[in-house]
Amino acid sequence: MASAYLEFIRIRFLTMLAYRVNYYSGIVVYALNIGVYYFLWKAIYGDASQLGGFSAAQITTYVAVSWMARSFYFNNLDREIANEIRDGSVAVQMVRPYSYLLVKLMQGFGEGLFRLLMFMLPGLVVVMLLFPLSLPAEPWRWLVFFLMIWFSFLINSQINLLTGMCAFFLENNDGVMRFKRVLVDLLSGVVLPISFFPGWARTVLEWLPFQAIAYLPGSVFTGTLNGPEIGYAIGVQAVWSVALILPILLMWRVARRRMFVQGG
């Protein structure tokens, strides 16, 4: 059975490869985003050497790396699920001997893997040529970073599964999905590192899963988190990825009972 799930990763990877134009435009969009934020942060820093625990060099690296990480953990699983529920093709998925949600997760992973290899790595080279980045010298920090963005993918996808499944309960869950997207981009630390938020907001955000998606791996990579803090960061990610399983299963159980196949 595991080989079937691996097959889903492979096929999604190949399907992504088939849409080449998306691929090239994707690289440009990511490079543009990084460029814009680079100049924005340069202006914000001005002469200041340190803000919110980040040096000017660190913040540039943080921006570049968190966008790169985003290319890996980002996916449209929520939209895919909502569409399948809306057009009724979820019925077809239910007559297959596999877990629907796990298959979706695998497809998301295939997509992430594609972007990691085809966007992130070549993109990183391009960005390094354009902007002064300070990449960590220690090989273990790279390893920890890759472990952490794996968790990022997991947590983000789990949140997507939850928002996607809302389509079982709402006639139209577009609003929920848009809300979630803004929430994740804003509160995960891609746009603004969590340490830049005011104290009270930081306390709130530390209790939400979003920071585990982008802020924690970015901070470890740039070196603002060190020593035992790294272990703690990974722990937070692990706890969230386990904790989110429960609401997903609960929601799925309820959804199964209320499933309504559209269009006969």
Binding site: M1, S3, A4, E7, F8, I11, L14, T15, A18, G88, S89, A91, V92, M94, V95, R96, P97, Y98, S99, E171, R256, R257, R258, M259, F260, V261, G263, G264
Partner: protein, 410 residues
């Protein structure tokens, strides 16, 4: 052990009701109101292994909902369902290995990849061994003539080609039960025939139990030893197709062509005393409806010498007509076994009266009376579901034609 066993199966859906006006829409935002829609009402049946069973009914009768419960897609609201020894919705992941499902209106193949790649993926999903897969694929490729389709992407196939591939995809893991939801919808006659032949062969050689829903009664005639008819979520008939025809078709029609003009009033006089019914299309042709209990010979002996018969043909009531009549009657119960003669309710008696008036030959008023009888029969059926009127299916078509004829005359 029967392949499919269903007991008092029920499915209700909760559907939001939208209130009218702006105020209503605002109220809806905070307090939704719902109504319960009963799609399947406590149905029971069992299908033994190796049977091909047709599941028919009007749109919205609950056919697809039943199939979806049997296939493990929907969870029943109440009742018991067991397919191949499993409770479909509870043991879904193990259970679905034993069944194949084809939806005529949805593709199960992956849109972007080649057919063969979809098949390979299914092989892994169903954990079919490479050797079994090869053998099965060769067999299916040959019988469904898939040879040159295998390497094309699904989105480039025509509907007929796709449907053959869908069938193959549903059978790669050699399921013992096959569910088909309108498998021949939108297909041309050649592909339809091909698919019917294939299903017959499959049933004969592998003993596959098949349950199919369809609107094409030729599918049923070609394939099914048994028919279950559904109306408004209830089973209104369960039995063989022959029996259905016998019960509902209560006679046949004889069509005459005359070599010389014949007076319509003269025809009625010839069959005086027999419960038959004449419809004169014009002076040189006529149709005679003969109930099943009357021997054709008795009627013909009176006619053959007396009329200048040029040509004569017999018309059995077709399945299409019978089924249409049943759908239109809206009767929620199985028709009474007898003919209109042994009417068990006043409404039925009215229908019977209408019929006897017909025999006397006053076409215009008859058409109206019969229509009224049908209307009240339906109303009665809605009020009290128990003893509904036996609606005469075989009568339906002549009655319609007569109505138009009356209009022409008027």
């Amino acid at each position: 052990m029967p392949a499919i066993e269903v007991e008092r199966l029920r499915k209700t859906f909760r559907v939001p009701v939208n209130r009218e006006s702006l105020k209503g829409a605002l109220l809806d935002l905070f307090l939704r109101r719902y109504t319960e829609i009963v799609a399947v009402r406590d149905i029971s049946f069992r299908i033994p292994e190796g049977e091909i069973c047709g599941y028919i009914g009007e749109n919205g009768a609950g056919k697809s909902t039943t199939i979806k419960m049997l296939a493990g897609i929907l969870v029943p609201t109440s009742g018991r369902v067991e397919v191949a020894g499993y409770v479909p919705w509870r043991d879904r992941e193990t259970f679905v290995r034993h069944i194949g499902v084809v939806f005529g209106q949805r593709s199960q193949l992956w849109w972007d990849i080649g057919v063969i790649e979809s098949f390979r993926l299914l092989r892994k999903v169903y954990r079919v061994s490479e050797a079994d897969f090869r053998r099965r694929l060769d067999e299916l490729t040959e019988t469904l003539q898939l040879g040159d389709l295998l390497h094309r992407p699904v989105r480039k196939l025509s509907l007929g080609q796709r449907m053959r591939c869908e069938l193959a995809a549903a059978l790669l893991h050699n399921p013992s039960i096959l569910f088909l939801d309108e498998p021949t919808i939108g297909l041309d006659i050649v592909v339809k025939t091909q698919i019917r032949e294939f299903l017959k062969k499959l049933n004969r050689e592998h003993g596959t139990t098949i349950l199919l829903t369809t609107h094409d009664l030729q599918d049923i005639e070609a394939l099914c030893s048994r028919v279950i008819m559904l109306d408004d979520g209830r089973i209104i008939y369960d039995g063989s197709l022959e029996e259905l025809k016998e019960r509902w078709s209560k006679g046949r029609e004889i069509r005459f062509r005359f070599s010389a003009p014949v007076e319509p009033s003269g025809l009625a006089a010839l069959t005086e005393g027999l419960p038959v019914r004449w419809t004169a299309a014009d002076e040189e042709s006529a149709r005679l409806w003969v109930p099943r209990e009357i021997h054709v010979a008795d009627v013909l002996t009176r006619l053959v010498g007396a009329l200048p018969i040029l040509d004569m043909s017999f018309q059995e009531t077709g399945t299409d007509e019978i089924v249409r009549a049943i759908y239109q009657s809206g009767s929620a119960s199985v028709p009474a076994a007898g003919t209109a003669g042994d009417a068990s309710s006043p409404v039925a008696a009215a229908a019977g009266d209408a019929q006897s008036v017909t025999a006397e030959g006053t076409p215009v008023s008859v058409a109206v009376t019969a229509g009224d009888a049908r209307g009240s029969a339906k109303a009665a059926a809605e009020d009290a579901p128990a003893p509904a009127a036996p609606e005469d299916g075989g009568e339906e078509a002549p009655r319609k034609e007569r109505q138009t004829e009356a209009q022409v005359r008027g």
